[in-house]
């Protein structure tokens, strides 16, 4: 994790001249993130908050040695921005943009993995290492430094949990939001594996939700010993109505996977304690630490 991102990582913001891009660039700068450049095609030569803006990612890499990007580009243009970042050799691309079509996501995620770039998102709040660096939009007021890692499919729920940990006197080593879309670059299990290798992290809180099979996958990998730290989990959506049925095909490939019950069962089978409500998370985390 430290190799992937730390306080010295040189970061660019794609879509820096937009409302969201500008706002969160200011937030990231004030947190200490080393933002070296912004990119907006057609706006090269401008400055945003003192940060130079370029027409292309390539220029930002040449001039500043950029290593990672945070993407705020609107959905219709976001895939292009991501391909550009991959082809310019950026090793980490955090895609905050929402509503990118799933076929676009699936192609760009595959392309990035072929080229050795990691995509976090789309539709992600990004990641934060408290008191050090953040890439994305996580509000730092809820995060204090500590030794609990958080991997999550939900943005605001992550802030809620981090805030609850804070009120209990517990802190966060790293929090990673993998993104709320059905297909994402970094998966929940991959994020947990990364935190498992992070020396600052003593235990991992997994915040899952209904739909897809990422939680079940994480539980399977935990059983196989691929995640060596203590893990506790929560699944949102026990009371939510079942999602739309994807024909016979959905049933044929997913079986029971996807429901809250399936996920909770998978965690318990793997020996991962599951919080019944979010209120139990801090106690379970404290127990895991002791």
């Amino acid at each position: 994790m430290e190799r992937l991102v730390n306080k010295d990582t040189k970061v660019i913001v794609q879509g820096i001249t937009g409302r969201e891009g500008r706002l969160h660039t200011a937030e990231m700068l004030s947190y200490g993130t080393r933002i070296v450049a912004g990119v907006t095609p057609g706006k090269g030569g401008e400055r945003v908050l003192g940060i130079p803006v370029y027409d292309s990612v390539e220029e930002a890499v040449e001039r500043h040695g950029a290593e990672a990007s945070v993407v705020f580009v609107p959905a219709p243009y976001a895939p292009d921005a991501v391909y550009e970042a991959v082809d310019s050799g950026l090793r980490l691309i955090v895609v905050v943009t929402e509503h990118i079509p799933i076929h676009e996501t699936i192609r760009m995620v595959r392309y990035a993995s072929c080229k050795g770039s990691m995509i976090i998102g789309p539709n992600t709040p990004g990641l934060i290492i408290p008191n050090e660096v953040k890439l994305g939009i996580m509000p730092h007021r809820y995060f204090v430094k500590g030794d609990i890692g958080i991997v999550s499919r939900s943005g605001t729920l992550t802030y809620e949990v981090a805030g609850m940990l804070m009120r209990k006197g517990l802190g966060v080593s790293i929090a990673v939001g993998v993104g709320g879309d059905p297909v994402t670059g970094l998966s929940l299990a991959e994020a947990a594996r990364m935190l498992s290798e992070d020396p600052r992290t003593k235990c991992i809180v997994v915040i899952g939700e209904i739909g897809g099979g990422m939680e079940e996958r994480l539980a399977e990998e935990y059983s196989k010993g691929l995640i060596s730290k203590k893990v506790i989990a929560f699944v949102a959506g026990k009371e939510a109505p079942p999602g739309k049925r994807m024909g016979h095909a959905g049933a044929l490939i997913m079986g029971e996977r996807g429901s809250a019950i399936s996920k909770i069962k998978a965690f318990k089978r793997a020996g991962i304690p599951v919080a019944d409500t979010i209120l139990e998370i801090p106690d379970l985390a404290a127990e895991a630490l002791s």
């Binding site: 929402e98 595959r110 509000p139 943005g155 605001t156 992550t158 939700e209 939510a240 024909g247």
Partner: protein, 377 residues
């Protein structure tokens, strides 16, 4: 967006994928006209945006025109699995020798496309798969590589089709890609004396794509035009508004937070009636629009607004809430607000002026709203 079967039929036909003769009717007069155009025997199919129509009685096989008229006219206007049947498809029933199953779906975990094929199609496909897992062929298709000839050869061998008939597989894949499908399912893919026909089709397209693709504009507009005012605002604003069986409306920013809030309400004995995720960007306008939807909902007795924002300005959110309450003066419901973010004090002051209870701790807010709901009385 779940397309109507007749819409999917039209799309497949435009890709030269063989389909049966069929005619769409929305009134008894149109049924009569259709029956003149299509030769017997018939299959009458209710057009609703969901699957499992057969089991609900929405698919009828009939031999003669008189019977067909009665069945079709009877279906129109009836309720079927939560939808009112406005249109029926009057299709010619083919003489089928074999029923196959073929679908394309997105494998979200593997981040690939998946082709599923079985020589045993029909409504029992899931059962047959359980008894004979070998009958289902799964081929992962890398989105960068696409569907290749060797894959098609494997499929036609598995299904017992000729090389020539395999062309339909390539065309279906093109539809799957061009229309941004989450699912394209042909069940059955019917083998007759004349060749292969896609006689029943299920197509679900990604809404992020459907709303922007010119190919889908016609179908998207049709979808939007059928929504209620509330649902339309929801789709346009990208709110997610889901009705449940209780009486407490739960509104939050972010699906996970809103679901976790709902789970806690249920845990404490309350009954959620609406799930409303307003998504990112909790501006005054969005909050006001979303709360208005909730205030209009007659099944909702009490409302919990749970807005957790880091850099969201609580005074903005509070103004949005007050604005909605002003608009619905006299039709107000019990409302409890949980706000966290910038300018919390100011937000609380604005809402206190309107007599709205504001909490910082989510649990306190949830306890309060559960007390207001039917189950709490």
């Amino acid at each position: 967006m779940y397309l109507y079967e007749y819409e999917a039929r039209e799309i497949l036909a435009s890709y030269d994928i063989p389909v049966e003769d069929a005619c769409l009717a929305s009134s008894p007069e149109e049924v009569r006209e259709c029956l003149r155009k299509i030769n017997p025997p018939y299959i009458i199919k209710a057009q609703v945006r969901r699957g499992g129509r057969g089991r609900l009685g929405g698919v009828k096989e009939v031999t003669g025109a008189l019977e067909a008229f009665e069945e079709a006219a009877d279906m129109i206007g009836k309720e079927l699995g939560g939808f009112v049947v406005k249109k029926v498809l009057i299709a010619q029933k083919l003489e089928i020798k074999r029923e196959l199953y073929l679908s394309f779906i997105i494998d979200k975990e593997a981040r690939s496309y998946l082709l599923l094929a079985s020589p045993f199609g029909g409504v029992e496909v899931e059962e047959i798969h359980k008894q004979r897992p070998q009958s289902l062929l799964k081929i992962a298709i890398d989105p960068i590589v696409g569907l290749r000839d060797y894959m098609v050869r494997r499929v036609i061998k598995h299904l017992g089709l000729s090389l020539e008939q395999g062309e339909v597989i390539r065309r279906l894949y093109r539809v799957f890609i061009d229309y941004g499908c989450e699912l394209l399912e042909i069940n059955p893919l019917a083998v007759t004396e004349e060749g292969v026909f896609a006689v029943d089709r299920r197509m679900i397209v990604d809404e992020s794509f459907a709303g922007t693709s010119p190919l889908l504009a016609k179908y998207w507009n049709n979808y939007i035009s059928e929504l209620s005012k509330e649902e339309r605002i929801g789709v346009e604003q990208r709110f997610s508004y889901v009705k449940l069986d209780g009486d407490i409306g739960v509104m939050g920013n972010g699906a996970g937070l809103t679901m976790a809030t709902m789970d806690l309400i249920r845990h404490l004995g309350g009954k959620p009636g609406v799930f409303l995720d307003i998504g990112g960007g909790a501006s005054a306008e969005r909050v006001s629009m979303a709360l208005s939807l909730m205030l209009r909902d007659k099944d909702v007795n009490a409302i919990l607004v749970n807005i957790l924002g880091g850099i969201t300005r609580c005074d903005e959110v509070a103004r949005g809430i007050v604005n909605a309450l002003e608009r619905y003066r006299g039709k107000e419901k019990k409302i409890v607000v949980r706000l966290s973010g910038l300018n919390e004090e100011e937000g609380r002051r604005i809402l206190a002026g309107r007599g709205v209870k504001v909490f910082v701790d989510p649990l306190d807010a949830i306890k309060e709203v559960v007390g207001y709901g039917e189950a709490g009385k």
